[in-house]
């Protein structure tokens, strides 16, 4: 990339040591370990941390399931995937976590699902120069997710950036790219599993520690495989070409279309619930710098749980720039969903 053309690089070292993770199953490839421990046991939350770190870049998502075709010969067996997988030795987190501030906010600049505060946070961080790019989940007209590197508030003119998508997105692989391209830092919005994946990456690798500056988590009940949810919704009579937004409130799944609305109980979606979400107990992205979600605040507002200093800085910046207005949020409203997810702990089979 920026090879020797950039001047004044620190003289590095020509000898160094790297620790490799211990293998649970000996004389097996690391990936096979991962496969046995995480994927086959249905723990995999498809956060794609392994995909992002794999040096061979050959771990792929086939039909939304993480897979490594002919890993026997292609795998480099470096163990990176094992090092970074948040579920490899899984310590389920739950609850609200500790926070500095618990507020509701509504962006003046952006129209989103609710308050569009996730967008607001990232963009403000860009404006204040903390980061030079934020990762957003974009979707095409068929609601396939893609990642958008936002570098400028103007780019938020692309309407499909806002709004919740209840399907998985390859955020972390793009995060790797973003980290390699970035000059100041990267901000990212992700589901709780992704957040913990990022944290794992950061604790393992200084590069991510330095360059991922802002992690915004989302309140997440569950997330669906694109194939299945699309099939399911089409059965329900949802026309993707006309679909405007999807939302879950009051235990109801609401798909709003240009002309009509399709509603049904979230419970019904249980049947296509992925295994990873089935064992996920984290609703509020406890590890994030700031969590954002609709629950717990008035209509048109989104709840913001500020957990870390950098997020606090951004909030203050927003306050002084007045790009959003803030209101009261009620933590107790979250309790139901937190509890709902906490119940999933028993789905984890301990061996």
């Amino acid at each position: 990339m920026r090879m020797a053309t950039e001047t004044g690089v620190a003289i590095g070292e020509s000898e160094w040591e790297v620790k490799v993770p211990a293998k649970k199953l000996k004389n097996k490839l690391h990936f096979e370990n991962l496969k046995a421990v995480v994927m086959d046991t249905g723990l995999c939350s498809r956060c794609l941390t392994c995909v992002s770190i794999c040096p061979s870049g050959l771990i792929v998502t086939a039909e939304d399931n993480v897979d490594f075709p002919d890993y026997e010969e292609r795998c480099l067996d470096c163990g990176a995937c094992v090092r970074v997988c948040p579920r490899y030795d899984y310590k389920p987190l739950s609850g609200l976590g500790d926070y500095i501030e618990f507020i509701a906010g509504q962006s003046k600049r952006f129209k989103g699902q609710d308050g569009a505060m996730a967008t607001e946070l990232i963009v403000s961080a860009i404006d204040m120069g903390m980061i030079d790019r934020g990762l957003f989940v974009d979707r095409d007209e068929r609601w396939m997710t893609g990642i958008f590197h936002v570098q400028d508030a103007e780019q938020l003119g692309v309407l499909t950036l806002g709004g919740t998508k209840y399907t998985f997105a390859n955020v972390l692989p793009e995060l790797k790219k973003a980290v390699m391209f970035t000059k100041r830092g990267v901000g990212v919005v992700g589901t709780p599993c992704m957040v913990s994946g990022i944290r794992k990456l950061q604790q393992e690798f200084p590069v991510f520690r330095e360059r991922v500056k802002l992690v915004v988590g989302l309140f997440c009940t569950e997330n669906f495989h694109y194939e299945e949810v699309s099939r399911y919704l089409q059965e329900k009579g949802v026309d993707f070409s006309k679909l405007v937004k999807t939302d879950i409130t009051k235990g109801k799944f609401i798909a709003t279309m240009t002309d009509e609305e399709v509603k049904f109980k979230v419970k019904e979606l249980e049947e296509i619930l992925p295994g990873g979400c089935n064992v996920c107990t984290d609703f509020t992205a406890v590890e994030s710098d700031a969590s954002v979600g609709s629950v717990g605040s008035a209509k048109g507002f989104s709840t913001v749980v500020v957990r870390a200093e950098n997020a606090k800085k951004v909030i203050n910046y927003i306050r002084e720039k007045r790009t959003a207005e803030f209101g009261e949020a009620k933590p107790e409203e979250l309790d139901f969903l937190i509890g709902h997810k906490k119940k999933r702990e028993e789905n984890i089979k301990r061996d």
């Binding site: 090879m3 690089v9 590095g12 070292e13 020509s14 790297v18 620790k19 490799v20 770190i53 470096c78």
Partner: protein, 245 residues
């Protein structure tokens, strides 16, 4: 600013210019300023910097792929030699003789000749294997002499010399700035050994210490040719090329 007006000819000028044109032609018939090179029987003498067919010296090649990367026509594809290293092959069906490759070659393994007049019967012959690029090729020479264009303050004159012009110029092979690859962020290394696998000179080595469960990565700066492939390929971008002290 200078204005150019087109001439108005009256009958007198017309006659004048008719005469001048005719007389010029007549003069040329009598004593022509001939500048023709009788090609098959004699060649123009190109300058030594002429960019023609390219020769290759495996001793100096560090397999850095730079010739292949820089080639605008993608005419240079690297081929694995018996020794397991990659050497360039050249496809004259694409080559545009820009010699970016020659200028790129840090070891000076590629060098230029003045061979340029070749006709192939089929396109497969135009692909030149590495083995064929080492020794200067034989081309049909029907020439008994060579012509030099000599431009003095008066005019261009042709200097004809008997004997065959030497097409293989020996220029000193270039030497790029010596570089060496180093790791600038040991912490972020995941020991994927891509650098080792991609290294053409075997300078990067890794040693697994079963007991302590660590891998010792090592770049032997003596062996390192500074080809920069590891730097390019490192998935964590933690290697850099720096000047060899």
């Amino acid at each position: 600013m200078k204005k150019v007006a087109t001439p108005e000819y009256d009958i007198k000028d017309k006659l004048k210019y008719h005469v001048s044109a005719l007389s010029t032609a007549a003069k040329e018939v009598v004593m022509p300023l001939n500048i023709t090179t009788h090609y098959p029987r004699e060649r123009r003498k190109w300058p030594d910097c002429f960019r023609g067919y390219i020769l290759f010296d495996p001793e100096r090649c560090i397999s850095c792929f730079e010739c292949s990367f820089v080639c605008p026509a993608n005419a240079i594809w690297m081929k694995e030699a018996p020794s397991g290293r990659y050497y360039p092959t050249l496809d004259y069906g694409k080559c545009i003789f820009c010699h970016f490759c020659v200028d790129s070659c840090p070891g000076g393994a590629l060098r230029s000749t003045k061979i340029h007049d070749v006709a192939y019967k089929n396109m497969d012959e135009m692909f030149t294997h590495t083995e064929e690029m080492i020794e200067p090729p034989e081309i049909i020479r029907e020439d008994e002499g060579y012509v030099e264009y000599e431009i003095d303050k008066e005019d261009l004159t042709l200097k004809r010399t008997k004997g065959k012009d030497k097409l293989i110029v020996d220029v000193a092979p270039s030497q790029g700035v010596p570089m060496v690859s180093l790791c600038i962020d040991r912490g972020s290394c995941i020991a994927c050994k891509v650098c080792e696998k991609v290294c053409e000179s075997g300078a990067v080595s890794s040693l697994l210490d079963e007991a302590k469960m660590i891998i010792k990565m090592k770049i032997d700066s003596e062996k390192c040719t500074g080809c920069g492939l590891c730097v390019k390929e490192c998935s964590m971008q933690i290697l850099r090329l720096v000047r060899r002290e």
